[in-house]
């Protein structure tokens, strides 16, 4: 005989304002098996939990239904509460009368009716619940960080510092990411390379860190604590163990006309190259799209000049199979293409550049050696126009990104300030919609650009840019001055919106990690779990989760590392006991479940069964490995004979819920 207790929560006014909680507890008290029913202001509070425990003992309850918020919020809380009072944790059911009821209804009568129905369904399910015991699974004490920018490097360093081995997988030939291309960093104006390259070297020298550069993740299998990852290490045609990074090959290579991606195509590199002087690992790579030897078999200059004998034209892609306990996504961002914004004449004039290109033009290691020169004719520009929010804060869809890219206000203030500092003869205009500088010492920095450096900040947007006689005719709004401005500029700099790296979407699919409509990784909770993906064992670091500047990225990278360390420090993880279970008597051995299982948890065995007239039948039946099964339920749907069932979510339980709702 079931003795079920029902506890209806008000959630302050969150539920009570739209649901008559007294009516709900009264109605549910009449359900079969319910021996106690009440309501309380905050069931999750200590007083609420104490009450549940007290009633379990007082009435000898063997099932509990809590009508409250989503089980994602407090199911674990109430299960623990009941467990302490001696009830099996899986004898507790949550009826979600907040997210799925009070928050979406305005009418109290409708809300109350629905809350009663949801409560009734939960009671019907509890009737069929059985106590379950969770097993454990071991944790592989090694982490994988995908992406070797400042986010990935910082996460890896912090995990390594705690004593756990980490692999960094970086798709480019060197780690360092976008920060290597930046000239100076706001708001302190220290040089990006000066603060980043020591970290890159630290990562390379740390004995717990293994850098797998020029490589991409190809597949991910497994689950939290036990991931199996295949990594494709692309052929760089140079033996990493032999190359000393002397750079002689990169000087002698006759193929000189390769656009240099490190300088965003503003100059050229050779077909064999080291991305930049401080690259880690400092090993050359051959670009197979341009190398004459690889394309035609005639050349071989680099192998002749290499004293270390590191060149290997026959090198092939290598597939590495590794196991990890935790995975961190740190795939970063890219500026968007300026293709759709031709009103700014980006494709018509080389003097219209993006802000990242401007970084290279200002950088001492850039194509102009740090002297600001117009890309078209190499002359010194006198009038510069900076345009903010290009492709940010748009209506979405065709127009651009709906979000604020966050970093542009500050880097534009930095560019404007540095330009005025180095070249006091320049006139610098910044066209802005809003200046957004929430950050420590950020607004002071922007005000310095205006007050101390005389940058002209104009509220309004640029409408069009027309190249004419070597100048750029800029037509713009000056909303506060009430006029339309016409400026003859020498250079126009576009603060292009940023978007997640192209590799993020396929990676999210491999990791079964969720993403938002803009392809940023979704966090498990936007406020309380900002560095975890909803997929257990997957963590988020840096701009792959949303636009971020360097200080925020580093902070989040450290937070992600802390979460990884917390996971890897455990020897065992408690498994979810709600796993699939095959009824061998009903299984017909068809393999349908094995084929749909995404975790490889199902195997088939030949087993002897007793047949009629003392015969023995050998039959092929499915078996579930409960440590591997994640309880997704795919097999229960695929099974044609109804042999597969999910513990805690059995077909009978779900049908009972449906029946209760339709009653």
């Amino acid at each position: 005989m079931q003795k079920i207790g029902v506890f209806v929560c008000w959630c302050g006014s969150n539920i009570a304002a739209t649901v008559d909680v007294q009516a709900v507890s009264d109605a549910l008290a009449k359900e079969p098996g319910v021996v106690f029913s009440t309501n309380y202001q905050y069931m999750c509070s200590q007083a609420g939990q104490d009450m549940i425990q007290e009633k379990i003992k007082e009435y000898g309850l063997n099932g509990v239904v809590v009508c409250s918020c989503s089980p994602r919020m407090h199911e674990a809380t109430f299960r623990k509460t009941c467990e302490k009072a001696g009830l099996n944790a899986y004898m507790v059911e949550i009826a979600n009368i907040r997210e799925q009821c009070s928050w979406i209804h305005k009418d109290k009568e409708t809300g109350t009716e629905k809350a009663i129905i949801l409560g009734r369904a939960a009671i019907a399910k509890v009737h069929l619940n059985a106590p379950l015991t969770a097993g454990t699974s071991p944790v592989i004490k090694r982490a994988l960080v995908i992406g070797g920018g400042i986010a990935g490097i910082q996460t890896a360093l912090d995990i390594a510092e705690a004593g756990f081995p980490v692999d960094i997988v970086e798709k480019k030939p060197t780690i360092g990411g976008k920060m290597t291309q930046i000239d100076k960093t706001f708001p302190t104006l220290d040089c990006a390379a000066c603060i980043l390259t020591p970290k890159m070297v630290d990562a390379a020298q740390n004995e717990n860190i293994n850098i797998i550069s020029y490589a991409e993740v190809e597949s991910v299998k497994g689950f939290v604590g036990n991931f199996h990852v295949a990594i494709r290490k692309k052929a760089r045609f140079v033996d990493e163990s032999k190359c000393t990074g002397c750079g002689l090959c990169t000087e002698k290579c006759p193929q000189k006309k390769v656009p240099n991606e490190f300088n965003l195509g503003l100059d050229n590199r050779r077909a064999i190259y080291i991305p930049f002087a401080q690259a880690v690992p400092k090993v050359a790579a051959i670009d197979p799209n341009y190398c004459t030897m690889l394309k035609t078999g005639k050349c071989g200059v680099c192998s002749k000049v290499c004293t270390a004998g590191a060149i290997d034209y026959t090198q092939k892609d290598e597939l590495l199979e590794r196991e990890y306990g935790a995975i961190v996504a740190a795939t970063g961002f890219e500026p968007i293409s300026m293709e759709k914004f031709d009103e700014f004449a980006y494709s018509q004039s080389p003097d219209v550049v993006t802000s990242l290109e401007f970084e290279r033009l200002m950088n001492a290691a850039g194509p102009t050696g740090g002297t600001l020169l117009r890309p078209s004719d190499g002359t010194h520009p006198h009038t510069l126009v900076f345009v903010q929010c290009v492709g940010s804060r748009c209506d979405g869809g065709e127009k651009g990104k709906p979000y604020c890219s966050k970093i542009c206000c500050m880097y534009t203030a930095k560019h404007a300030m540095l330009t005025r500092e180095k070249y006091p003869d320049t006139d610098v205009y910044v066209f802005y919609i809003d200046v957004r500088t929430p950050g420590k010492n950020f607004d002071e920095f922007y005000r310095r650009a205006v007050e101390d450096y005389g940058v002209h900040y104009v509220k309004g947007m640029v409408g069009k840019v027309v190249p004419e006689n070597g100048k750029l005719k800029v037509q713009a709004s000056d909303l506060l001055g009430g006029q339309q401005l016409h400026i003859d500029a020498d250079m126009v700099v576009l603060a292009a919106a940023i978007e997640p790296d192209q590799t993020a979407r396929p990676l999210a699919t491999m990791l079964t990690a969720s993403m938002d409509t803009n392809d940023f990784f979704t966090e498990a909770h936007p406020k309380l779990r900002p560095v975890e993906s909803p997929t257990a064992g997957v963590f988020l670091s840096g701009a792959c989760q949303g636009p971020k500047d360097i200080p925020e990225t580093v902070a989040q990278a450290g937070a992600a590392a802390a979460k990884v360390i917390g996971l890897l420090a455990k020897d065992q993880l408690t498994c979810n006991p709600c796993v699939a279970n095959s009824n061998e008597l009903m299984c017909n051995g068809c393999s349908a479940c094995e084929k749909v299982c995404p975790y490889g948890a199902i195997t088939y065995v030949d087993k002897d069964f007793r047949g009629p007239n003392r015969t023995t039948l050998r039959r092929r039946v499915a078996q579930v490995n409960p440590a591997v099964c994640q309880g997704c339920g795919a097999c229960t749907v695929a099974c044609p004979s109804g042999a597969m069932d999910l513990k805690g979510f059995s077909n009978a339980q779900i049908m009972a819920e449906v029946d209760a709702i339709c009653k």
Partner: protein
């Protein structure tokens, strides 16, 4: 006048609340200097119910309907549709025709875009 504001919003299909006041419409407008109110102001005036001022303005007939503002607006506000709706609202007022046919020959000016006359001439009879 508040009814008229609603009518203008309805027939134009424009929601002025989508405007983030960036001014790109006015930056793109080729007739900016001819207008007493400018594209970004049209949107603001409709949003704040200042329709009477807008309806009495000469500037609304200077809009060429070139749609540069609609093309460039990052928020898809479409100021040109709004101004067309305001012009319609004006001509639909009985006996308030902006222009009478007999006035046209004297007004013809090679500098003036044809579209402006067409817009000004639209009328509505009950």
């Amino acid at each position: 006048m508040s009814d008229m504001t609603e009518i203008v919003k309805r027939i134009s299909g424009v929601n002025p609340r989508k405007c983030m006041k960036c001014g790109k419409c006015s930056a793109a407008c080729p007739a900016y200097d001819e207008m007493d109110y400018h594209p970004h102001q049209f949107v603001d005036m409709v949003e704040n119910g200042r329709l009477e001022e807008l309806m009495n303005s000469k500037g609304i007939y200077m809009c060429l309907s070139c749609f540069a503002c609609m093309e460039r607006c990052p928020r898809s506000v479409e100021p040109a549709k709004l101004i067309e709706a305001v012009r319609l609202a004006v001509v639909r007022q009985q006996d308030r025709n902006h222009l009478k046919p007999e006035q046209i020959p004297a007004l013809l000016d090679p500098e003036l875009p044809q579209q402006a006359i067409t817009s000004a001439f639209r009328k509505y009879r009950k």
